[in-house]
């Protein structure tokens, strides 16, 4: 709905589509960081709205455990923004992207993780 409604939002996000939040292996989030992302938005349909009936319920449990584990090893959990956004919530999506971009920009480039991957992020990408 965001696009159809011509709502403008920060251009910093690269959209990666999945059939369902249940398909988002936690490893894929780590791969985003390894490939240079400073933050990740994980989003999908609201609980009880799942096309596959229970995918997002399973995903939610997994995230709960994953988030605590990340924090335990010193990965800032605020670099991952989780939100339920339905296809009809165009305005919510736009504002989610905008606020997340702002928040993550405040945290700065995720050098400590990128260093692991030995792929320093290009400055200009971060500066948008």
């Amino acid at each position: 709905m965001t696009g159809t409604s011509r709502i403008k939002y920060a251009p910093n996000v690269k959209i990666i589509r999945f059939p369902c939040t249940g398909r988002i292996d936690f490893m894929l989030i780590l791969k985003a960081f390894a490939n240079g992302a400073d933050g990740v938005i994980v989003s999908g349909c609201h609980p009880n709205d799942c096309h596959y009936s229970t995918g997002n319920f399973h995903a939610r449990r997994r995230w709960m455990v994953f988030r605590r584990l990340l924090e335990f090893v010193g990965i800032n959990p605020n670099r991952i923004v989780w939100s339920w956004v339905s296809a009809a919530e165009g305005a919510k999506w736009a504002s989610l992207v905008n606020t997340s971009t702002e928040e993550i920009r405040k945290l700065g480039p995720y050098d400590s993780y990128h260093k692991l991957a030995n792929k320093p992020l290009e400055k200009e990408v971060f500066n948008g």
Binding site: V65, L69, V73, A117
Partner: protein, 267 residues
């Protein structure tokens, strides 16, 4: 000890079990796992304070299973492993004779999973004191300090996978670390590969680890790698009120859910 030998001998003589898995004398003052198949060999079995290894790791190995019906010397972690793998449908009551050993080193007969469950309810199955303290200490550090700690610890990992081999819950015939189309985790023990390997290992054991500590003991470079899975043990308890390995019929934590699971971070 005599009691254990006597019982093992009986089981082998009357063919109730084909193999007794227990502890024997190893080299350099260490104990090792022994697989006793003849009644006259039962004298090799020992049990003392050094016998810490979680023997249940052998129960699901193809080459052991195929020897016939198994009996196992079962300390509390072994009993919990048995219940956990049973709940994952990897083992049934008929596959194994459980020779329970109490923390006071007494032999107890546990007939069926129900009696193991009842016995465990009366026992302390929590994380050991020294590990608990370490966990609390690590949790209280700042994010930067935590990162520095794990970056340093994991940088020593040589990816020998001894932690995986020692863990009785790591029984997949094909592990994700061997997935190479595409290469999922870097094979080399580099910083990124080590971090990814250990976070994945921890996630795959969340809700399944029975805090035996075997992975940490197995590590040749002394990384306290068990703390990562112990963290999951604590978390699934806080979040879902589940303790692994206490019940042979429970649902797996991460492949089940409750519609009212409570989190605070999803917007």
């Amino acid at each position: 000890m005599d009691e254990i030998r006597k019982r093992a001998k009986e089981l082998l003589e009357n063919q109730t079990a084909k193999v007794v898995i227990g502890y024997g004398e190893g080299t350099a003052g260490k104990t090792r796992a022994v697989f006793i198949r003849k009644p006259e060999d039962t004298g090799q079995l020992i049990f003392d304070d050094r016998c810490e290894q979680n023997l249940a790791v052998y129960l699901l190995k193809h080459e052991v299973k195929h020897l016939g019906k198994l009996a196992i010397i079962a300390t509390i972690p072994v009993m919990r492993t048995i219940l956990q793998v049973a709940s994952e449908l990897q083992l049934t009551e008929n596959d194994v004779v459980i020779l329970g050993i109490t923390p006071e080193k007494n032999l107890i007969e546990l007939e069926g999973f129900k009696s193991v469950e009842d016995y465990l309810k009366t026992q302390d199955v929590g994380i050991r004191k020294e590990d608990k303290e370490l966990l609390t200490k690590l949790t209280s550090l700042s994010l930067e300090e935590k990162w520095a700690y794990w970056e340093e610890e994991l940088s020593r990992c040589i990816k020998c996978y001894a932690c995986r081999a020692a863990c009785p819950m790591c029984y997949c015939l094909r592990c994700f670390v061997e997935v190479n189309q595409p290469q999922w985790i870097p094979i080399a023990p580099n910083d990124l590969g080590n971090m990814e390997w250990h976070l994945l290992r921890a996630m795959h054991l969340a809700g399944r680890c029975i805090n035996c500590g075997e992975c940490g003991r197995a590590c040749p470079v002394d990384i306290p790698i068990h703390l990562l899975t112990f963290k999951g043990v604590e978390d699934v308890h806080t979040d879902f009120n589940v303790v692994a390995g206490m019940n042979a019929t429970m649902e797996s934590v991460l492949s089940s859910f409750k519609p009212d699971d409570k989190e605070t971070f999803i917007r």
